[in-house]
């Protein structure tokens, strides 16, 4: 019989960090440190600034279609956000989306509750709008969006929509009418020039148009929780977004008949509009004049992410960064304004083994920290 000893294998700390990031992290936490040398509740510094490449921020005439922009830097990560917009025909068609029509169940159920008269405008969600964002995390090659990118984009969309930061009303287009004044010079009559409103009412189309906002968010050299940075970039960009004024040519309004297109009359339409439902208008953007996108200032918010590790004690780590910390499964993500309002809270917990369930105290602590963080950071937006 030969003696066999179980010898312990020793790894250099840098190697162990690669093999077993969780073990390394535990050791760090036990001596009260984090791999990044930040304190447990310390966030990374974030610099938020306008990027200055939108058409209204540039000097002189610019022909690009970017309406707002921002840059967010944190550690080695850069996030660049640009806002563009499109124009859609409004409400009736959008809110009575065809999908809803197909879904008879919902409508019937809805009508049962409402005694058949459901006013969509009463619904809170109908007052709000959002931004369709596309997040691109650069990884050195092209390809279809990864699930991380999709998740980020959709999370941004849903958070902004339900927070009510952008109202539908603020995206409505107040159409002007291009005409000639008594001296034959072209002028654009706008709705808020009160004395001309009669003309507008006569010529303006019977239907409404509104802007749709798109955001393109590019992320370079990703570290740490991206949602926080993307959210900050998006809101900063929205804050300096300016929407161009729109007008229609007078000619177009005259030629209503030519714009008529055969189309099945929409029976659900209560406005009594028929036949001419789909007029075509020559909508034009005013190259010079614009107005600010209105954002509900009270709903400005900042997102903070926490990871939770379990050593001898459970510890809340703000802004987890680096391989070991980013692999933490449990976490809390809070979007809060500086005061008591939260706009999103996502908690991911474990199944409660070794009494490692997420406790109320941890949730409270995370919310408290995120409020403080928001109060500090919202000034930057």
């Amino acid at each position: 019989m030969t003696d066999t000893h179980l010898r312990s294998i020793k790894f250099a700390p840098s190697k162990l960090a690669l093999i077993a990031p969780d073990v390394t992290l535990k050791r760090y936490i036990e001596i009260g440190l984090r791999p990044s040398l930040r304190k447990f509740h310390e966030f990374r510094p974030v610099i938020v600034s306008p990027a200055g490449f939108s058409r209204y921020e540039k000097e002189g005439k610019s022909s690009n279609a970017i309406l707002g922009s921002s840059v967010v830097k944190s550690g080695s990560t850069d996030v660049i956000c640009s806002i563009s917009a499109g124009v859609v025909e409004d409400s009736q068609e959008l809110t009575n989306d065809y999908r809803l029509r197909l879904d008879k169940d919902i409508i019937e159920a809805d009508e049962d509750e409402n005694n058949s008269s459901s006013k969509d405008e009463d619904h809170r969600v109908n007052q709000y709008s959002s931004v369709y964002s596309v997040v691109e995390v650069s990884r050195g090659r092209n390809g279809p969006p990864t699930s991380e990118e999709i998740e980020l984009s959709q999370a941004l969309y849903e958070t902004i929509l339900h927070s009510g930061m952008i109202t539908k009303e603020s995206l409505n287009i107040k159409l002007g009418l291009k005409s000639r004044d008594s001296e034959g010079k072209p002028v654009i009559i706008r709705r808020y020039d009160s004395d001309d409103s009669d003309i507008l009412n006569e010529f303006a189309p019977k239907k409404n148009f509104s802007y749709v906002l798109y955001a393109k968010i590019q992320v370079y050299s990703k570290t740490g929780p991206l949602f926080d940075l993307c959210y900050a970039a998006l809101i900063k960009a929205l804050r300096n977004t300016k929407l161009p004024e729109m007008y229609i040519n007078e000619k177009e309004t005259d030629a209503k008949v030519s714009a008529l297109r055969a189309r099945k009359t929409n029976k659900n339409d209560s406005n009594g509009r028929n036949g001419s439902d789909l007029q075509e208008f020559d909508l034009l953007c005013d190259p010079v004049s614009f107005h600010d996108l209105k954002i509900d200032e009270g709903k400005l918010s900042w997102s903070s992410t926490f990871g939770i590790t379990h050593g001898s004690d459970s510890v809340l780590l703000a802004d987890p960064e680096g391989e070991a910390e980013e692999n933490i499964f449990e976490g809390i993500e809070v979007v809060s304004s500086g005061n008591d309002t939260l706009f999103s809270a996502v908690i991911t917990g474990n199944i409660g083994e070794d009494d490692h369930a997420i406790s109320k105290d941890q949730i409270k602590e995370a919310i408290l920290l995120s409020k403080r963080r928001s109060a500090n950071m919202i000034k930057e937006l």
Binding site: I351, G352, E353, D354, D355, H356
Partner: protein
């Protein structure tokens, strides 16, 4: 016997516990005195030997996962090197059967098998990350022990739980009833396959129908339904 769901805590009294199918040590119980079922089913406790008791949860599934020493019926569908490739279950990874895992097999005396042949075998090795291996040699005697190629007859699928029940209860009501009516040879694989062979096709079909349908019959209605099935056979 009681009905359990995952997350239920089973307090274990005796120190020596054998974990059977569908039972695991509860997450977080370091001293291993609390067990938890991993699926919904009936908790059963049996004496494995004088010192220890076996805990397991009886539950029906559709997919067979090989366990060591299970008796199975497989279909041969390929060969490579000295191995046959055997399928135990549709859409599950194939298992291996060594050509030398037959009694008296040697380099000169290889078993002659072709694709589509049925094999009754024992699961001889289940290792993580390695293909499962079967054997046609009885583990204790080193002899044939009833394993080998199944020729003729008819093979059909039943619920896994039903196959287990029939294999472990040779005095099951269904068998005592069948024995009264005909002569048959049967092989039951816990992978939910049953092979049966009788003297003529009609009887075989009747037996198959009886066994297959009896998994949806209650104990009380069993004799009458068997009678019905065989009555049809006689009139034809």
């Amino acid at each position: 016997m009681s009905f359990v769901l995952p997350g239920n805590q089973i307090q274990v009294k005796s120190a020596n516990v054998v974990l059977g199918p569908n039972v695991d040590i509860a997450p977080g119980s370091i001293n291993e005195t609390v067990l938890t079922p991993t699926t919904a089913g009936m908790l059963k406790v049996k004496k494995a030997n004088p010192q220890s008791s076996l805990y397991y949860v009886e539950s029906n599934t559709k997919r067979y996962v090989p366990q060591i020493n299970d008796f199975v019926i497989g279909v041969l569908f390929g060969a490579f090197g000295e191995y046959f490739r055997i399928s135990l279950n549709s859409f599950s990874p194939p298992v291996l059967l060594n050509q030398y895992s037959f009694p008296n097999a040697s380099k000169k005396n290889r078993p002659r098998l072709s694709n589509g042949d049925l094999v009754y075998a024992r699961v001889s090795a289940v290792e993580r990350n390695v293909d499962v291996e079967l054997s046609c040699i009885d583990a204790t005697t080193g002899k044939e022990g009833g394993f080998g190629v199944l020729s003729d007859g008819l093979v059909f699928d039943v619920k896994l739980a039903f196959a287990r029940y029939l294999l472990f209860n040779s005095d099951a009501e269904i068998f005592t009833q069948l024995v009264k009516r005909c002569k048959f040879e049967i092989a039951i694989g816990v992978n939910g396959r049953i092979w049966i062979k009788t003297d003529d096709i009609k009887t075989t079909i009747a037996c198959v129908n009886v066994i297959r349908n009896s998994q949806n019959w209650t104990k009380e209605e069993l004799p009458a339904k068997i009678e019905d099935t065989f009555k049809v056979l006689k009139t034809n």
